[in-house]
């Protein structure tokens, strides 16, 4: 590696380290917390981040850009693998869990519900539950803040209906 690439690589590594939890959470969400799939998706996200790093102009916050890349990569990964059967119960060795078993199961149910939404709605929900500001959500999704609020309201209603339908 030449000096320029070394410098870029070091900056990239530092940026990833600062945002590793963000990347990891997205990977967990789109892989049903399966350890092997988390590793695969994580590698894909890192590759895409590195590929786009030269073009990242730092006009927006780095977390905004990372959200964009990670969510898009996660959705692609999910759609590629959604037809594969995931019927087996995960053993503790197979699962990548950082919370208690009950919380982890609830997270699984939550992901299952979110994955029934369309792509843009899924992105919106993940940003919302990660407590991302309205402004940053608007930047990630490329829409206005007002539009974010409107869409969020609709998504909440949609999720409620989905949950109610399941209950009935």
């Amino acid at each position: 590696m030449n000096q320029k690439t070394d410098t870029t690589g070091a900056a990239f590594t530092a940026m990833v380290k600062r945002n590793e939890a963000l990347i990891y959470k997205v990977c967990l969400a789109f892989t049903r917390q399966r350890r092997d799939e988390v590793q695969d998706l994580k590698q894909e996200v890192l590759c895409n981040l590195w590929r786009g790093y030269e073009g990242f102009r730092k006009e927006s916050k780095e977390s905004t850009w990372i959200y964009k890349v990670a969510l898009n990569t996660g959705l692609q990964y999910y759609h590629r693998n959604e037809r594969l059967p995931h019927t087996e119960e995960l053993t503790p060795q197979m699962a990548e869990r950082y919370v208690g078993e009950e919380d982890s199961r609830q997270l699984d149910r939550m992901y299952e519900l979110i994955h029934r939404l369309d792509d843009e709605e899924q992105k919106l929900v993940y940003l919302y539950i990660d407590k991302v500001s309205g402004k940053e959500m608007a930047e990630v999704l490329g829409i206005s803040e007002r539009n974010v609020r409107i869409r969020m309201f609709r998504v909440k209603e949609k999720l409620k209906r989905m949950a109610q339908y399941e209950k009935d």
Binding site: A21, I23, Y24, Q43, Q106, R109, I129
Partner: protein, 202 residues
């Protein structure tokens, strides 16, 4: 949260709990980052290969185009240019404007008739030109008389078997030179009468 309950705030709480649990863990190793950087760098080399391929294809196309361009042109029927005056014609006399110009004179002999020896062709053309001396000085010749002679010549040429295109086009050139001297309407009718048999023989 039970399976069928829904609460986005509960989701948020769980997600935040997970976020806190992730803190302090080394989630992405240096090795994973290096692997990503290396694999992507390899992929970046591809466009160069692609450009080389594009350059090779372009070179082949250029060579093919040059080869086609250099290929000897096939003999074609001489065509009369449109009567529209060109900038070159404008430099000539006003009467020149509607003179048909013979273009695309082929250099290869055609199979109109049996191809005679080159010397025979030259003799034939020279003889034809000699037969037309009265048109060289039209001032001395009455126009009608000149018309008659020209038409007689045309009539004679109707039965001529032109040995090759060169001879025919040479004759047409001679006719063209003569026709310059006539007024436009007459020249037009004479042109049709004179040229038609020669062109038909081609």
């Amino acid at each position: 949260m039970k399976r069928t309950d829904f609460d986005l705030d509960e989701m948020q709480r769980l997600w935040q709990k997970q976020s806190r649990a992730l803190e302090g863990h080394s989630l992405i190793s240096e090795d994973e980052m290096m692997r990503a950087m290396q694999s992507t760098r390899k992929a970046e080399v591809r466009p160069l290969h692609l450009w080389r391929r594009v350059a090779a294809v372009a070179a082949v196309l250029i060579v093919a185009a040059v080869a086609v361009w250099q290929w000897p042109a096939q003999p074609a029927t001489p065509q009369l240019a449109e009567a529209t005056p060109s900038p070159q014609n404008n430099q000539k006399t006003k009467n020149d404007q509607n003179i048909p110009i013979i273009q695309n004179t082929p250099k290869t002999p055609s199979l109109i008739a049996e191809v005679p020896a080159q010397k025979d062709v030259e003799r034939l053309v020279a003889a034809q030109i000699e037969e037309l001396p009265q048109f060289i000085s039209p001032v001395a010749v009455e126009e009608d008389a000149a018309d008659e002679t020209l038409l007689a010549q045309a009539s004679a040429s109707r039965n001529t078997v032109w040995p090759n295109r060169q001879a025919a086009t040479d004759t047409l050139t001679v006719y063209t030179t003569r026709l310059v001297q006539y007024e436009t309407p007459k020249r037009k009718s004479l042109t049709e009468t004179l040229f038609e048999p020669v062109l038909a023989s081609l």
